[in-house]
């Protein structure tokens, strides 16, 4: 990268953020309104533009590098996540309906290689949705997670196997 290109690069990032935000907002408008005549399209365009200009930095922050690739990888990750939710529900159903209620809750902590906001949120929400674990607390600087687990085997899934951490790290390429 050439020296002194910072200002130019910054402007390009900003334009990129505005365009992406505008596209998503306008698509959302079309889906929710359901009217496709000129009046509603123009109103929607004006509103999307105002929202994009004011708050584009909330949705697309930073360089947005490899954003398309990451979004695509995230789409591939979601089916696996949905399957984990199904497993989690059968697990909870078994523990709820079992007469002796086989639970042994414990709090565990572990560090990950993740640093980005979106990656941390994805892993935190995935942990909450998968069998027997809830994220209590996240420390972004160290990528450290405190997790409440319903039983020992759930804790081991994060302490020993680390399947989910590896998958999320793959998605966001933050090994």
């Amino acid at each position: 990268m050439e020296v002194g290109g910072g200002e130019k690069m910054n402007r390009r990032e900003k334009a990129f953020g505005i365009v992406v935000t505008f596209s998503i907002m306008f698509l959302f408008w079309l889906l929710l309104s359901g009217f496709f005549d000129a009046f509603h399209l123009i109103i929607g365009g004006i509103c999307s533009a105002i929202v994009a200009l004011i708050s584009h930095d909330l949705l697309v922050r930073g360089k947005g590098e490899k954003m398309v690739l990451k979004s695509f990888r995230l789409l591939l990750y979601i089916p696996w996540e949905l399957w984990q939710i199904v497993l989690a529900n059968f697990d909870v159903a078994y523990r709820v309906l079992h007469p002796k209620m086989p639970i042994d809750p414990l709090v565990i902590e572990f560090e990950t290689s993740l640093r980005g906001d979106f990656a941390l949120v994805t892993l935190a929400n995935s942990i909450t949705l998968t069998p027997g674990t809830i994220t209590i607390f996240v420390e972004p600087e160290k990528g450290k997670f405190w997790v409440h687990a319903l039983a020992k085997e759930h804790a081991n899934a994060h302490l020993v196997d680390k399947t989910m951490q590896r998958k999320v790290a793959d998605v966001f390429m933050e090994w």
Partner: protein, 109 residues
């Protein structure tokens, strides 16, 4: 047509089953954190299955207006993101307040 209705009924029934499990878990589990395990997960899948049933029902009985199905899908995406986030926030608030997690052998709270 009939097959679709059977599939929709199964999806709605399964969704209701998991919501019901969540409610039972809320009553049976011993403390705050374990109760949120039941509600946080079962609500997501239960509502997801119910919305999936509604989407299929709508697409086959009213194929002229697919936007309603899209809106239902957006609703599911919102629940999919908001439910674990809300669960996490509630747990974090309780943990910061100093509420100790229940350990095996203690009495119910």
């Amino acid at each position: 047509m009939l097959l679709i209705d059977v599939i929709v009924t199964i999806l709605l029934g399964a969704g209701m089953f998991f919501m019901f499990i969540g409610a039972i878990g809320l009553l049976r589990f011993p403390d705050f954190y374990t109760r949120l395990h039941a509600t946080g997960k079962c609500d997501t899948l239960g509502e997801g299955l119910i919305i999936a049933g509604l989407i299929i029902y709508h697409l086959f009985h009213y194929p002229g207006i697919p936007l309603v199905a899209v809106k239902l899908l957006i609703l599911f995406i919102f629940i999919f993101i908001a439910n674990p986030t809300a669960t996490h926030t509630i747990v974090k608030a309780a943990y910061n307040k100093g509420l100790k997690p229940w350990r095996l052998g203690e009495g119910r709270r």
